[in-house]
């Protein structure tokens, strides 16, 4: 697959269709790939990588890259195409300046899950028939592929590319996913249990803003939390209330626009399952305003942006919060 991608990118660069390529660059180890812009065949040949660790959703870089001169080629996994559609819909990406090659999705691996098994000194990771053979400084280790996949891939919602100019490999289908299972578990908790769950999680937050900065739905030029005039700017929570509010307010801000790409939880250095906040909103929107998947298309009106006769009464939403 990597070979095919490099070859096609080289062709498109050579025939002038595109002037740049967004993909992933090989790192120091088996897993530390970095999103990068490639401008030549040589760069592609020496550094371009596509493997089990290329999980990063590169669609947000298109905000910057599509504003530049010349077309940019981007390789998008099915989940990433939802992000691009949403960004296109919000006029944040100039789709005309983007050439999308749809590529197969995951499941991708989470190196943290491998390390959490106590495996360290990792020199290489090979997938042999869904068993990971991990060469380490301390000898070879093995673990099932299924136990090392990213959370976002474990609850994959779709293998279908919702936007592309061409595909490498075959397109898939929208999946029956289990992604709301954990949300349901949280809903079934008592208010106190749920509060304790979120306090334990959110108290780990170090306010690094990685979740916000990676989020394709967070593309404000100036975030309200960075604006001294907003009155809510803060770099560190002064108490637990503020600690909660940053993430809850962020979830509100992306409600109806979050495509559930799962990047927030993937990048969190403290393993906070932030995507669950967004999924709760998605589930509520589905239940209260009808099934809706942000990023599925670039034209439909989002449920929270339009009023219909069938919208639920505000009081219904209000009562749900009362125990």
């Amino acid at each position: 697959m990597q070979e095919a991608m490099i070859n096609r990118a080289k062709q498109l660069l050579a025939d002038g269709t595109v002037s740049r390529v967004i993909g992933w660059k090989r790192g120091e180890f088996a897993y530390d790939i970095t999103p990068a812009v490639f401008e030549s065949a040589e760069e592609l040949e020496s550094d371009f990588v596509f493997d089990d660790f290329t999980a990063a959703n590169v669609s947000k870089y298109l905000v910057k890259e599509s504003a530049k001169e010349g077309k940019v080629l981007v390789f998008l996994k099915p989940c990433d195409t939802y992000s691009l559609n949403q960004l296109t819909k919000e006029h944040r990406v100039n789709r005309d300046n983007v050439y999308v090659i749809g590529i197969p999705g995951g499941p991708k691996l989470d190196i943290e899950k491998i390390k959490a098994k106590g495996i360290t000194g990792i020199l290489s990771v090979k997938n042999e028939n869904y068993t990971l053979k991990i060469e380490t400084l301390y000898g070879e280790e093995t673990m099932p592929f299924s136990e090392a996949i990213l959370d976002k891939c474990a609850s994959c919602k779709s293998k279908k590319h919702v936007t592309y100019d061409e595909l490498i490999g075959e397109d898939g289908d929208i999946l029956e996913s289990n992604r709301f299972d954990m949300v349901e578990q949280l809903e079934n908790m008592t208010a106190e249990e749920r509060y304790n769950f979120w306090r334990e999680q959110l108290s780990k937050c170090i306010r690094c803003n990685a979740c916000r900065n990676v989020c394709p739905a967070c593309t404000c030029e100036k975030c309200v939390f960075d604006n001294p005039s907003s009155g809510v700017e803060n770099k560190a929570a002064s108490d637990s209330f503020e600690e909660n509010m940053f993430h809850i307010i962020r979830a509100f801000h992306v409600a109806g626009r979050c495509t559930d790409c799962g990047e927030c939880s993937r990048v969190c250095p403290q393993n906070i399952p932030l995507h669950l906040l967004n999924r709760k909103f998605i589930k509520d929107i589905n239940e209260l305003y009808g099934e809706y998947q942000a990023g599925e298309d670039t034209t439909s009106k989002a449920p929270l942006n339009r009023y219909t006769f069938y919208d639920c009464e505000a009081s219904i939403v209000h009562e749900r919060g009362v125990e």
Partner: protein, 339 residues
């Protein structure tokens, strides 16, 4: 050497925590290690390191500095500083231990930061020698020996015993305070463990990384390097590297209206943030390239220029594993060195 059997660790922790606050790295439900105040039954993590570094003990993420009462045109300044309690941090790795001497060079030089000094005076650092370094480790690059960690008291394990050696008066007082639990024993097994660790150190993927091309005299060479654009291209501008870094020490000062007065606190800040240098009339670092460059130039050039060649990095590898886009000081060093 004084030692205690591994299976007596609980009684050791109980004895320490009886006299003063004890913090140990312990595993959270999600498998990551973090320092927590010891309570009976808590297990020492066998992870190589904690996600958050041990700098938190001396330079916490937020800290109240002073309070003000405002009444009409009057302001009353209240010095809220208090002596902090004595505490022991057990299980600090050699990299984090070195980070304290780096932070000291900022906070203990005149004018001394009394908030930092207060914690430093009351904290005893008990380090733990490494036996299973990770592929992301490169403390050797900065002259750190993970098999002989600094700190007030160093501890080694050979799988059967913990061995203790005091490095300072504070460390000696610590060893004395637990002397009744310790016994003399030979170090033959320990020597083997150390030799094995050293052998692994030589095989670490980053073992050849060197600082020889960096230092205080490299300002012009690297500041204007054309590599910064490519290196910073996909930087998200988040603060992960800064906040997990044991040597990053920049802070912001903010006021918070409690409704009953104004609380002035300081909190970690990041030079990666867009408003770090923003003033009412402009910002000298307008793009992420400039902000990204500042962080690495500071660690690799400016800090050594001001501190007799000491670098602002201890090779703990946290930024290597935590950066959302896997861009880090190792990649920066390697790229800058390619002429």
């Amino acid at each position: 050497m004084l030692r205690i059997s591994l299976d007596k660790i609980d009684s050791l922790f109980a004895a320490i925590s009886e006299k003063q606050a004890l913090y140990i790295p312990t595993d959270r439900a999600d498998g990551a290690a973090e320092y927590k105040r010891y309570e009976a039954g808590m297990k020492l993590s066998d992870k190589l390191n904690t996600v958050r570094s041990a700098k938190d003990f001396f330079f916490p993420q937020t800290e109240n500095l002073v309070e003000f009462k405002m009444e009409g045109k009057k302001i009353e300044v209240n010095d809220i500083r208090q002596e902090c309690e004595d505490f022991v941090i057990f299980g600090v790795r050699a990299c984090d231990a070195r980070s304290f001497t780096i932070l000291d060079k900022v906070y203990l030089v005149e004018p001394v930061d009394s908030f930092y000094k207060n914690r430093r005076d009351h904290g005893t650092v008990v380090t733990m020698a490494c036996t299973r370094p990770a592929e992301t480790c490169f403390c050797q690059t900065f002259g750190i020996d993970p098999t002989a960690p600094e700190g007030d008291c160093a501890v080694w394990s050979d799988g059967s015993y913990y061995y203790f050696k005091a490095n300072s008066d504070k460390g000696q007082a610590f060893v004395d305070s637990i002397a009744s639990l310790l016994e003399e024993g030979d170090t033959a097994e320990l020597d083997k463990t150390i030799a094995k660790t050293k052998e692994i150190m030589g095989r670490l993927p980053l073992s050849k990384l060197s600082t020889e091309n960096f230092g205080g005299d490299k300002l012009n060479e690297y500041f204007n390097s054309d590599k910064w654009g490519e290196l910073s291209e996909s930087c998200l501008g988040c603060g992960t590297c800064t906040f997990v870094c044991p040597t990053c020490q920049c802070y912001d000062i903010k006021d918070f209206n409690t409704g009953d007065g104004i609380k002035r606190f300081r909190c970690w800040d990041s030079c990666m943030y867009s408003d770090f240098t923003k003033m009412a009339h402009g910002n000298p670092r307008l793009t992420q390239l400039e902000r990204f460059r500042q962080r690495f130039m500071h660690k690799l050039v400016y800090f050594p220029a001001n501190n007799n060649g000491e670098f602002g990095c201890v090779g703990c590898g946290r930024c290597l594993s935590k950066c959302p886009i896997s861009m880090n000081i190792v990649k920066v060093m390697k790229a800058l060195e390619e002429k």
